[in-house]
């Protein structure tokens, strides 16, 4: 005999209005269950794209919280809203024309000098990055550290939305990583060699052979290929 397992329902408040939604949904799904459709503010639904940064409050708690809507379970009594986009100042630059000198970041984003180390950005980060530390590293010209500390940034923009000094951390981190990748990390030699080989036509014959093959033949070739262990 099977018994109906009743889903427990919870109450959430979306933009102030009460809704009943099943327990166990993410904030994003809870809002969809309530009838909202995300045209912006949603993307991969897997915690990778950073499109779904959101703000909320929990029941009986003074804290203003931030999270990725697709990764955070809705809880009973939560106050939810939708945050489709974070408007932010973005410096224009040609990466080719930059250098890795210590003042490069502060020259493009001078507002980082307004950081008073309040750490609000770090508290806001759904990735648990040391956001304030990478802004401080950028300020003192430590591009390597800024790039490393911001490496897992998804560009959700919650840090910038919360910053009392109007800093756009996620763009600053992106600039640090770009400069680091282009001017600090050593060039990969094997990539250059392979490119040269391709240009010299080393794989042309093989390519022609492959494109001339039928689907079945290709499948067979694929399943029987040597796999590096």
């Amino acid at each position: 005999m099977t018994e109906d397992i009743k889903t427990r329902m919870i109450k959430v408040y979306i933009m102030g209005r009460e809704y009943e939604v099943p327990e166990g949904l993410t904030i994003m799904k809870a809002m969809e269950y309530a009838g909202y459709r995300f045209i912006r503010g949603a993307g991969c639904r897997a915690g990778f794209c950073g499109a779904c940064g959101t703000i909320f409050r929990k029941k009986d708690e003074y804290k203003f919280r931030t999270a990725l809507a697709c990764q955070t379970p809705a809880e009973d009594g939560m106050y939810l809203t939708e945050l489709p986009f974070v408007p932010a100042n973005k410096a224009e630059y040609e990466l080719e024309e930059l250098t890795s000198e210590p003042s490069i970041i502060v020259s493009l984003y001078p507002e980082i000098a307004r950081c008073v180390s309040c750490n609000t950005c770090t508290k806001a980060c759904p990735q648990d990055l040391q956001v304030m530390d990478y802004i401080q590293a950028s300020l003192r010209g430590d591009i390597n550290q800024a790039a490393e500390l911001s490496f897992d940034c998804l560009q959700c923009g919650l840090c910038a939305a919360r910053c009392p000094a109007d800093i756009v951390h996620y763009h600053v981190g992106q600039l640090a990583r770009r400069v680091y990748g282009k001017y600090v990390l050593p060039r990969s030699q094997h990539l250059k060699e392979r490119n040269d080989e391709i240009k010299a036509g080393a794989f042309d014959q093989e390519m022609e052979k492959l494109t001339a093959m039928g689907l079945e033949q290709l499948k067979k070739l694929y399943t029987e290929r040597d796999i590096e262990k």
Binding site: P102, S103, C115, V116, S117, C118, N119, T122, K123, Q130, M132, D133, Q136, L139, R140, G141, D142, P164
Partner: protein
């Protein structure tokens, strides 16, 4: 001796020679500088607004990091960092209410207990005894003036020496074998951040300080502040008056020379190159 070391932003860029020479010297003297793994800007200028705690977060957060390292002292080189860190420290030590408010704001850190002391590197050296420095290459024949500026000595509560008649740098330089002359402008402000918007103010100060040092027979000026260094050194290029170039040195650079450590002097980062002078005195190898 092991002690946490707070570098500060300029020590990693424009004042690199100050840090490099201090590190080299510390190794010889057995001072193990434990560079703080996490630190933020000190706050740059101590905020005098008594109700604005936001600007005290930066210095206090650094002191929490020292506390996290399990130490109750931290040393620093830059006069500005020393001043800001220790002034904020004294503020919260004397005002538990403010400290409590800041601790509750920084709710993701351990509470600051007020148990850390900021010690300027010059003070550390003095504690060890200037006379015990293993000088190999005495600065014979070199006449210098120490320049303290404001930040090591004012306000009195954080002064590393007598705020009106400091002698700490003079004692150090004398122990290194230099001839030290006194100088009426050793406490004069260099013009500080006016250098950004009112260059002429700083030029006037620089001329004042350096021409008087020159009259007293000084061949170089010795200091402990990256901003004073910039103003007294680099502003020489903007002076309207005639002035023979005056080398400006960090005390740690002369300390390194006197201990025979010549590898990281960083003279190429100065506007007035001190090398010819030191060579002429036979102090460089």
């Amino acid at each position: 001796m092991k002690i946490p070391y707070y570098p500060g932003c300029t020590l990693k860029t424009t004042a690199k020679p100050f840090e490099d020479t201090t590190k080299a010297v510390s190794e010889v003297l057995g001072i193990e500088l434990l560079e703080m793994p996490r630190w933020n800007c000190c706050g740059t200028v101590y905020s005098l607004a008594s109700d604005d705690l936001m600007h005290q977060l930066a210095p206090i957060r650094n002191l929490i990091r020292v506390q996290d390292m399990g130490y109750d002292r931290v040393t620093t080189l830059c006069s500005m960092c020393y001043n800001t860190l220790e002034q904020a420290n004294q503020l919260v030590k004397g005002d538990p209410e403010k400290l409590e408010k800041m601790n509750s704001f920084m709710d993701q850190e351990k509470d600051y207990t007020g148990g850390v002391t900021v010690v300027h590197y010059l003070t550390l050296l003095k504690e060890m005894g200037f006379d015990s420095l293993p000088v190999k290459n005495p600065l014979k024949g070199l006449t210098v003036v120490p320049y303290y500026g404001c930040l090591l000595l004012r306000p009195e509560e954080i002064s590393i020496d007598n705020p009106e008649r400091p002698t700490i740098m003079a004692e150090l330089l004398a122990a290194l074998g230099a001839t030290v002359v006194d100088h009426p402008y050793k406490l004069e402000c260099c013009g500080s951040y006016h250098t950004v918007d009112y260059k002429e103010v700083v030029c006037e100060k620089t001329y004042h300080i350096l021409s008087s040092a020159r009259k007293r027979g000084a061949e170089a000026v010795v200091l402990s502040c990256p901003l004073c260094e910039f103003n007294l050194d680099f502003r020489q290029k903007d002076l309207e008056q005639e002035l023979a170039p005056m080398p400006i040195l960090y005390f740690s650079q002369l300390l390194a020379v006197s201990l025979g450590l010549f590898d990281a002097l960083g003279f190429d980062q100065h506007y007035v190159d001190p090398e010819p002078l030191l060579k002429e005195k036979g102090l460089l190898r």
